[in-house]
């Protein structure tokens, strides 16, 4: 193991600011979706902000992060700009995945954000592979793998947990339990009384965390990450949270009551952290208003940026099938083209960043 580095102590006001940015971003994304500026599926994170903010506050920037399709917040939390995130939703070349991934597939290599994965549970083995690589190279990085309560009944999830435990890999499985897998409540999907017990089946230490409380999430993640850096092992956190919106933009969420939603809204993670900071004299109302104003302006500017950004030229679509695909002389290494398809220009590879060791 390399020498232990001190955990970054992220400023709480800064993290509150991040949570506000996430919320305002998602609200604006919702509006732009309704205006048909954004296509496909779009899943919003509103209500869950403390989970990713708390987790990110507890780790280093070079630790690996990977999540499912409700991923806008994870990219923003990692430092991907609101511009790049909004442009991705708009399908623009300036997007964090060049407009080729969309809402469910945000990637940002430089910020160690490894997606953005839309097949439920299928990214959990990927996370285990990232943690495997870390151990293989004798690094002290930790992988944070986020997923929803819907993932825990998938085979891939179970296989991944077993492998992580078997190989003693440095990974934190963070189940963002927002009580519903699309429209199916945990009660109707899961045989266990509490999700965290899944971890016990694989001899992985697990804890339940209040996901509406930024400080609790941060402290629990910090605690397990410290332990993992001392000696590699997997850990599991069931983080209880709630999404205020439906599963996706097309879901009115009629499977739950207004009273239930109101109950959680009163426990809002942003209001809660704000109150904590105000009570302790670390934040004034004016400062909060400034933060919120700043978040709104950032997001509005991001919409403008996205609108004005170019789209990837059609003939570039073949550049994103194989790395160095055009480099193989003498054979038709490029994909088979049928009549009427985009022209293929023989050119430089799409990118040259890949296949390097971080």
């Amino acid at each position: 193991m390399t020498a232990m580095q001190p955990r970054e102590q992220r400023d709480e006001v800064e993290m509150l600011s991040l949570m506000l940015l996430i919320r305002r971003f998602e609200e604006r994304a919702s509006q732009q979706y309704q205006a048909q500026k954004i296509g496909g599926f779009c899943h919003l994170y509103i209500g869950q902000e403390a989970v990713v903010a708390g987790a990110v506050a507890a780790v280093r920037h070079d630790d690996y992060i990977i999540t499912a399709y409700r991923d806008h917040a994870h990219a923003l939390a990692r430092g991907t700009s609101a511009n790049a995130c909004m442009a991705e939703l708009f399908g623009k070349e300036t997007g964090c995945s060049r407009g080729l991934g969309g809402s469910m597939h945000f990637f940002d290599r430089n910020n160690h954000m490894y997606g953005g994965h839309a097949i439920v549970g299928a990214h959990v083995p990927l996370a285990v592979g990232m943690a495997f690589a870390t151990k293989y190279r004798d690094e002290d990085r930790v992988t944070l793998c986020f997923f929803g309560d819907g993932a825990i009944n998938q085979g891939a999830f179970h296989e991944a947990l077993n492998l992580a435990a078997l190989y003693k890999l440095p990974i934190v499985f963070i189940c963002e339990n927002n009580l519903f897998a699309m429209g199916t409540s945990v009660k109707r999907s899961t045989s266990l009384k509490q999700i965290v017990d899944r971890a016990e089946g694989y001899d992985i230490p697990g804890e339940i965390v209040d996901g509406m409380n930024f400080r609790e999430v941060r402290d629990k993640v910090a605690e397990v990450v410290d332990s993992i850096r001392k000696e590699a092992h997997p850990a599991f956190l069931e983080v209880r949270t709630y999404r205020y919106r439906g599963h996706s933009m097309s879901d009115p969420a009629s499977y739950r009551t207004k009273q239930e939603l109101e109950k959680y809204r009163l426990d809002d993670p942003i209001i809660r952290l704000r109150a904590q900071l105000t009570r302790e004299g670390k934040l004034t109302n004016e400062q909060f208003d400034q933060l919120d104003k700043g978040a709104k302006e950032t997001v509005l500017a991001a919409v403008k940026f996205a609108e004005q950004s170019p789209q990837l030229p059609v003939e570039k679509v073949y550049d994103y099938v194989y790395l160095n695909g055009a480099a193989e002389a003498g054979v038709n290494a490029t994909p088979e083209r049928r009549e009427g398809g985009p022209p293929v220009k023989s050119k430089e590879p799409a990118v040259d960043t890949a296949s390097t060791t971080e």
Binding site: H105, H117, L126, Y136, V321, E328, E358
Partner: protein
């Protein structure tokens, strides 16, 4: 050159690539302490240690995904499926994660991974264990698929696959692990590019396009045909994707008659794609309609006689050749 088995050739390829690049590791069921279900990884655990030769539980979807994740952050995994029939439980990882990552990340993440293992029908393994998966995987953009038929091709293609920056499937011929062939000595680097077919036997009257387990079949049939004064050219595709159109077209332009003998099923099989490309590009070169010989369109029966009837076999291939040659 010296004569070694297909199994030894693969073993040498693995050892050489493990030796060359510390980012390469081998993972799969029984690859380490058991030395591989087909003994392909014989001796590798002793030589490279348990950090790089890794046994897994029976958990194909899990360890295929693990490999892809490791590849995302710079390792070059070789993932062994005991047979590609078992790769089907990892289909989501192979089809949805490995080849899509490059596109959906906007080019940020390529996946330099090799999936390898036994593929194709063997002796009386019945329906679940007899899959020829080449046409499934070759239909997926972002994947590359090769199907070596000789020890030399097995070694050269596997080494190339490990060095490729994209997901490559090396579909080894289950029935050929013990077959022998001439291969360059170990101190001579052997890399065979993907997408390059090879004429395994020259001929004048008919082109038999084949790959994997149908190559020895085609060579055997060519000997029999010679006795009847039919000269068959044997074109071994070696790679299904990318496909070496030029080698196929060159042969067809010479013989003007084509039989494709493939080990997969007829519907949407590899031969359908080859056939399409020939008629589209060099229709005028054809003297007869192309005939495909493949498995019958049924799940594989266990019964030996029925299995033989279902597989592409010499009788079917000879009949097809005679038909296209109007012999």
């Amino acid at each position: 050159m010296r004569e070694i088995t297909y199994r030894q050739a693969l073993n040498e390829a693995l050892a050489e690539e493990l030796e060359r690049d510390p980012n390469v590791f081998l993972m799969g069921e029984e690859v380490a302490e058991y030395h591989g279900a087909y003994k392909v990884s014989q001796g590798l655990l002793e030589r490279f240690g348990p950090r790089r030769i890794i046994d897994t539980p029976i958990s194909e979807n899990g360890f295929a995904g693990l490999g892809i994740g490791a590849a995302m952050v710079g390792l070059r995994p070789i993932i062994e499926f005991m047979t590609f029939s078992f790769s089907l439980v990892a289909f989501d990882q192979i089809v949805n994660n490995a080849p899509n990552m490059f596109m959906m990340s906007g080019g940020q993440f390529n996946i330099p991974i090799t999936f390898r293992g036994a593929n194709g029908p063997a002796h009386q393994l019945a329906a679940t264990h007899s899959h020829a998966t080449e046409n499934f995987y070759a239909s997926v953009p972002g994947l590359r698929v090769c199907t070596p038929a000789t020890p030399r091709d097995a070694k050269g293609l596997l080494k190339t696959a490990v060095r490729d920056d994209n997901p490559v499937l090396v579909l080894e011929a289950e029935l050929l692990y013990s077959s022998k062939g001439m291969v360059e000595p170990p101190d001579e680097e052997l890399l065979i590019p993907l997408g390059k077919a090879e004429v395994k036997r020259e001929g004048e009257d008919v082109s038999i396009v084949c790959y994997a387990q149908t190559v020895p079949l085609a060579l055997k049939v060519a000997d029999q045909l010679e006795e009847e004064d039919i000269s068959a050219e044997i074109v071994d595709l070696r790679s299904i994707k990318p496909l070496d159109e030029k080698a196929i077209f060159d042969s067809v332009a010479k013989t003007h008659c084509v039989v494709i003998v493939e080990q997969d099923h007829p519907f949407c099989g590899v031969g359908a794609e080859v056939c399409y490309r020939i008629q589209k590009n060099i229709f005028d070169e054809l003297d007869a309609p192309i005939i495909r010989v493949s498995q019958e369109d049924v799940p594989m029966p266990y019964n030996e006689r029925l299995e033989h009837a279902v597989l592409p076999n010499a009788e079917k291939l000879i009949a097809a050749v005679k038909k296209v040659c109007y012999a």
